[in-house]
Amino acid sequence: MSDKNVLGLIFSNLHDESINDLTRRRTMGSVLFGGRYRLIDFPLSAMVNSGVGEVGVITKKNYQSLLDHLGNGREWDMSRKNGGLHLLPPFSHNQDGIYRGRLEALYGVWEFVMRSNADYILLSDCDIVANMEYDKIIDAHIASGADITAVYAKGNVRMDESHTATVFGVADNGQIADVLISPEMSGDSNISLNTYVIGKTLLKNIVMDAKPRNLVDFEKDVLQAKVSTLKLMGYEYTEYYSRISSMQSYFEANLALLNTENRRALFKADSPIYTKVRDNPPAKYGINASVKNSLIGDGCIVDGKVENCILFRGVKVGAGTSLKNCIIMQDTVIGKKCGLQNVITDKKVTITDGRLLTGSSRCPLFLAKESEI
């Protein structure tokens, strides 16, 4: 637990465009993940578990599902008299609400930030699935005397995903020496996890300075532009994470949870991932059920064959149906004698008896919310 006064700010809409199919009617933060979660549950729960007692969630558009999910923050234990969860919809912004980048968004919510007693601001997006110990990152930030600490992970970036990545050059002393935005590259690199710690006073100076200069982008106009004038420290994150930057990586990040080692690294007993409670009964398996290597949410009724799948809460799978490598979101009903392979269904999809649907692992077949096949 951090004893420092820290304000968390979560950007729920950045990266929406990387998985357009899933963000057509919701924010990146409210994209469903891992059988019962929304992406925002990961940074928000980790903040709660790290002792960050006050969190603002910055929204831009399509945020109805996010408001519905978060409510007053009670399920994250963030319905508090002091601090707690604050939703910052665009009408609280100074301008018309449609910010163009992280800096402009910060300018829009600056009044809220000013009211907080926090000395440090922790910034996070919703494209990283991880259970970060932010208190360690904050302690490292303070110990190093950095102006800004940026969290990165050593990893392999694929050519088709590099356009969504920020990559750091990190010196031996841990200082960030180079910032590459959307580089056309592949291979081992220090990938930014879009998680930053910065002192409130410095952030204020940056935000106020950027406004009259029409600078809107934190990565480009701050990290990149000031790489030699500010002390930018890298914090290497070495534990389990996945980065959602495309439909394919979304698909892979979900299926990665079928690996027990990955799952145990993400869902730790002493730092649980919280989410909205739905009061589903237990999952029920019928006489014809055969389930292998799958994650099943509560409230599912399974009477078919399910292999390498993630079924969210309240999914029904009829007898004689076979599902392989599928992600089936909540309340989807799949009839009898269907065959689905490499399919992602959004919420409340209905698939009638006997349908055969096949995607590929590179390009899973996607069925939009409430569609009927």
Partner: protein
Amino acid sequence: MYIKKECVAMLLAGGQGSRLYALTKDMAKPAVPFGGKYRLIDFPLSNCVNSGIDTVGVLTQYQPLVLHDYLGNGQPWDLDKMHGGVHALPPYQNINGASWYSGSANAIYQNISFIDRYNPTYVVVLSGDHVYKMDYNKMLECHKAKNADCTIPVLDVPLEEASRFGIMTANEEGFITKFEEKPKNPKSTLASMGIYIFNWDKLKKALIENENDPEQEKDFGKNIIPNMLADGNVMVAYPFDDYWKDVGTLDSLWDANMDLLNPNIPIDLYDPNWKMYSRNPVMPPQYIGEDAVIENSMVTDGCEIFGSVDFSVIFEGVKIGKGAKVNYSIIMPGTVIEDGADVEYAIVGENSVIGKNAKIGTDPTEFANRDDWGIAVVGHGITVAEGKTVSPKAIISENV
């Protein structure tokens, strides 16, 4: 300032449930886990909420820690209310000293002031250990329509079982003419379900009279109901023909769990119009492993199943290791069944460990004399060491 409530529910949850042995050693019967993610008290509490009753007093006495902790502020049942909500009512000390609840009627008697604060017209008295879904509001409508002073839901039971219940005789309009608690020679098959709606003024009078009569026990079935009938109150039998089970014994607890797996038995937990509420665990979805076999079972969040599971109810956070077999069993929250263990016809309590290759219970068909067989029971927090055997009918409350 209290706002008047038309109806207040009083839930009797103080009983020990001694016939559940090891399972109620450290917790009251209403706190016993049931149905994969519930505790028994979730059924009457959810019924209250779904029936529009938002003020519930829960009378606790025996081992209340788990139960009080579970109830908390009532938020999981939407009973964290500004006016009303759920209130745990343990016995207390007053100016005349302290006294335990000496019976179901005395428990309500000692909380007359709690009920009076809401100035209700009706009081529903419920039991914390019944598994059923019932719209109390419909029963209240019937109570009002018949201008009753007391309405008692009744089940039609087989004659040979009738002597286990409070049995009543009613005329064609449902008015009760006779009531006998556990009669030796039952004259009717209408059995009281042990839950009641009263007009509060009539019940209050009966409770005070009962309390002031040292000759009488302090029990609803034995005293209050016969007294009120003798006093000429209008008593109505309200027929109930849906699923109802009193889970007072290990066998009935096991049966009631198995009923949830039987598609022909009408207790549907999946009805979106009658949700069963409970305190939800914060755990990831259940994982079913590569070599797992799972059929005819209910499994909850946080489980990791690597072995085989058939006809079983598995609560949250249970781990079932490779090669382990769980058949016809109930495994309560947080328990670990290690690799190769064999659990059949058993109830295993919370946070227990069944060691590698241990064997718990057996199939009844292996017994020539069925009376020698019974459900094997392992209590809460028990470790059964590697390779040990727990025979059928055994009840384990110490590590073996």
